[in-house]
């Protein structure tokens, strides 16, 4: 048995050139083959690629989709993020559990099926949803959970679970997913047709400096959340020297409530690849990498196919578009379940075959990125904008949107609304208009920008979606009249606790402490002083955390303390007896009472 492990691992490593920096591909392949990366496999990997075993374990133990302990041949991962909970995922989860006769985190006795929870898989517009290995199942009910389990017990083939395919390329023979696009509003920049090569041909007829100037004139800013000017990032990367530079596309889309990149990857991959190739020309790079979140593995064969077509058309490979000396190709790097890997430096660590820990800055990726080379990391949608800017011109683009935020933005709307889905809207649109399009006029709160963003109430619905007002990477989560905001905050904090890398103190410990206090308040044991305690704690975490995760995880606490303070105030009580409400003296005395065998004298027999 162990001999086959050794031999297979060696083969897998060899297929990856025995290259340590391809560790993600190696451990993913081993996991897929054996259902785990066992001690023996880690030893074998370490020996084969000349690293230390603990380095391998360090990687394996970081990613949710990898495990040291054996998992079933099929793993069912039920998304239990906030939106799924709003859609009663609890009942679906119970049905899976009953049908399989196991709890979450367990594997059936025959070793065939494992059941787990997972955070947002980018299907909030068709929640509740789950992954069965790489196959996505959506719009679940208790009935469908039962029939999925029955089907698996019969054939053990997740692909057979999908009977109806979704719209557009979801029904492409290489996708065959039941996922729907749910495009509620298309726009002129991203969700519009492009003849492959049109934008790229224009770009290669220009000098790199001219391309960068065009992107700068369009005043394009990053669509991934931070909003950094794209042209400037490219200029830094190009100027950083060295002979090798990289273009990286961030398709990790891990922010709960965001699924617009999923739709781009399904419907407009050419636009995105074209943007990446243009970036390659602009910065002087010859390699592009798409970091695709593990949850979107079902799109990989289709994306590889699109890349092959582009190669055949001369849009990738040697002398792209006939431009002598411009060689550029793109590969796909799979993630393995880690939200923090959407942070650009963590993403690069992961690409390098390491734990997904963010890196210290400076140096910035533009100076020293992937394998120490200058690298530009941009969001999926940003690359689409680039291609359109080159096709239609910066003037055309700058006319769209608002003054400070030219262009359009893709929004992913989910939660308590009639038509959840993706909208391409011009920047400057009010939140109220967005809610109207999605049939969410009775919303009592909206989370803009995902858990790391802010929660606003009706008083703020007149505010606009743009970089200078309500900025968002795309996530818009709607909360209707029944929702309890503190519960939402508690669920968000759970997410940050589990998804943080654990590198720095404020984020690793602070998120746990914030959740403890929010839960205490929810439990009716809070006191007025807890509001100030939370405020101060949140401020410390925000100020002192090392990367964007911890710098934004307190936002859910801070924004609800500001915008929904009365929700907190209604739950906390001023202590009347001089005792802290959270202190249960009877419970505290319990252990001592048990030892002496009688009740405390102060509380009577």
């Amino acid at each position: 048995m162990s001999e086959t492990v050794e031999a297979t691992v060696k083969q897998i490593c060899q297929a990856c050139g025995n290259d340590r920096t391809r560790m993600m591909d190696i451990v993913r392949a081993v996991q897929e083959k054996f259902g785990c990366v066992s001690d023996a496999a880690m030893d074998a990997i370490a020996r084969t690629v000349s690293t230390h075993r603990v380095e391998v374990e360090s990687v394996v133990s970081f990613y949710t989709f990898l495990s040291k302990k054996p998992k079933g041949q099929v793993v069912i991962r039920v998304c239990n993020d906030i939106i799924d909970r709003m859609h009663d995922v609890g009942r679906v989860a119970q049905a899976f559990s009953d049908a399989l006769g196991i709890g979450f985190g367990e594997t059936t006795k025959d070793g065939k099926i494992s059941l787990e929870f997972t955070p947002c898989i980018g299907m909030c517009d068709q929640a509740p949803a789950a992954m069965v290995n790489d196959v996505v199942v959506t719009g679940l009910s208790s009935d469908s959970a039962w029939s999925i389990v029955r089907g698996l017990q019969e054939h053990m083939d997740p692909n057979k679970l999908v009977e109806h395919f979704g719209d557009g390329n979801n029904s492409h023979e290489l996708v065959r997913a039941m996922v729907s696009n749910n495009i509620r509003k298309a726009g002129p920049v991203v969700l519009a047709p492009l003849a492959a090569g049109d934008a790229l041909k224009k770009a290669v007829s220009m000098t790199p400096a001219e391309v960068i100037r065009e992107v700068k004139t369009a005043r394009l800013r990053g669509r991934g959340g931070a909003g950094f000017p794209t042209g400037m990032k490219w200029e830094f990367t190009r100027g950083a020297g060295g002979d090798k530079r990289y273009v990286v596309c961030n398709a990790d889309e891990g922010e709960p409530g965001t699924f617009k990149d999923r739709v781009i990857l399904t419907e407009c991959p050419d636009l995105m690849f074209e943007g990446m190739t243009i970036a390659g020309h602009a910065i002087g790079g010859d390699t592009g990498i798409v970091y695709l979140r593990g949850e979107y593995a079902y799109l990989r064969p289709f994306l590889e196919h699109v890349l092959n077509e582009r190669r055949a058309q001369g849009l990738l490979g040697k002398n792209v578009c006939g431009k002598q000396g411009f060689d550029f190709d793109i590969r796909i790097q799979m993630g393995a379940g880690a939200y923090v890997c959407g942070e650009e430096t963590a993403l690069l660590s992961s690409c390098e075959g390491l734990r997904g820990d963010p890196k210290n800055r400076p140096p910035f990726p533009a100076q020293k990125g992937y394998l120490g080379r200058p690298t530009t990391v941009n969001n999926v949608e940003t690359f689409c904008c680039v291609a359109r800017i080159l096709e239609k011109g910066s003037g055309w683009f700058a006319e769209l949107g608002s003054k400070g935020s030219p262009g359009t933005k893709l929004l992913s709307v989910s939660g308590d609304c009639k038509t959840p889905g993706v909208l391409e809207v011009p920047f400057g649109i009010t939140l109220r208009e967005v809610l109207k399009v999605c049939g969410a006029e009775d919303a009592i709160a909206v989370q803009v920008g995902g858990p790391s963003g802010v929660m606003v109430g009706p008083a703020d619905y007149g505010r606009t979606i743009c970089y200078d007002d309500l900025a968002t990477g795309g996530s818009i989560m709607v909360f209707g009249p029944k929702r309890n905001h503190l519960k939402t905050v508690s669920i968000f904090l759970d997410f940050f606790i589990e998804e943080g890398c654990g590198y720095c103190t404020p984020c690793r410990v602070g998120n746990v402490l914030m959740k403890e206090r929010v839960d205490r308040i929810l439990d009716g044991k809070g006191e007025p002083a807890d509001l100030d305690y939370l405020q101060q704690l949140a401020e410390t975490v925000k100020l002192a955390s090392r990367c964007g995760l911890g710098q934004t995880s307190p936002n859910c606490v801070l924004s609800t303390l500001k915008n929904f303070r009365s929700d907190y105030e209604a739950l906390v009580k001023k202590p009347t007896d001089g005792m802290q409400p959270a202190f249960d003296i009877r419970a505290a005395l319990g252990a001592a009472e048990a030892v002496v065998g009688r009740k405390s004298a102060h509380f009577g027999a």
Partner: protein, 239 residues
Amino acid sequence: MSDTITFTIDGVEIQGRRGQTILEAADDAGVYIPRLCAFKDLSPYGACRVCTVMANGRPQAACTQPIAEGMVVENDTEQLKKVRRDIVEMLFVEGNHFCMFCEKSGNCELQAMAYRLGIAAPKYPYLNPKREVDASHPDILVDHNRCILCARCVRASKDLDGKNVFQFIGRGPHKKVGVNAEANLSDTNADVTDKALDVCPVGALLRKRVGYAVPVGKRLYDLEPIGSDIEAKRAGQEK
């Protein structure tokens, strides 16, 4: 391009060398910036965040942030002292620290930092985690209860000992120091003479049978607070 860089810390002008971090330049100038994960012979890591300063108005880890000409650094302010207290308190409640009977007491940087920052008891609730002790090695004890995840041992084993005995495993709250073996330190090539054992700021990594050797009153931090050695340099320079 001149190699000298002039900047200020709390209004005091300081000369540093190009390429130095704020922490290094401050040390040379005899200005103490509290720190726990930074260690003189090891590469900057930036994990504990105790060294957080404001550099040109933005929070930065002094141990990883390079100095720049004209940079305005705030260090000893009420705001930052509070942030540092908060962080040190977080480390106390995150692990299980029983200083009263700990071998490292008096020589422990975490304990000394708490004293220097004026922490009597943490305002946060103890998280009382369940953590392991690895006593498998004949000469070395690993007590995860006291580990503050500073990565000093990880870096020292790799860069000073050339061994890679330690590396982090797990993510988020499940993160811990792992060893280069299935489970036990005794199955690694760790040795009692390893430099990695000298760098642990707390009592998480200890040599066996040498504890409590220094009597109370003569331990490293019994008489002077942590950082005094660095501040003494400034006193010397001012004379």
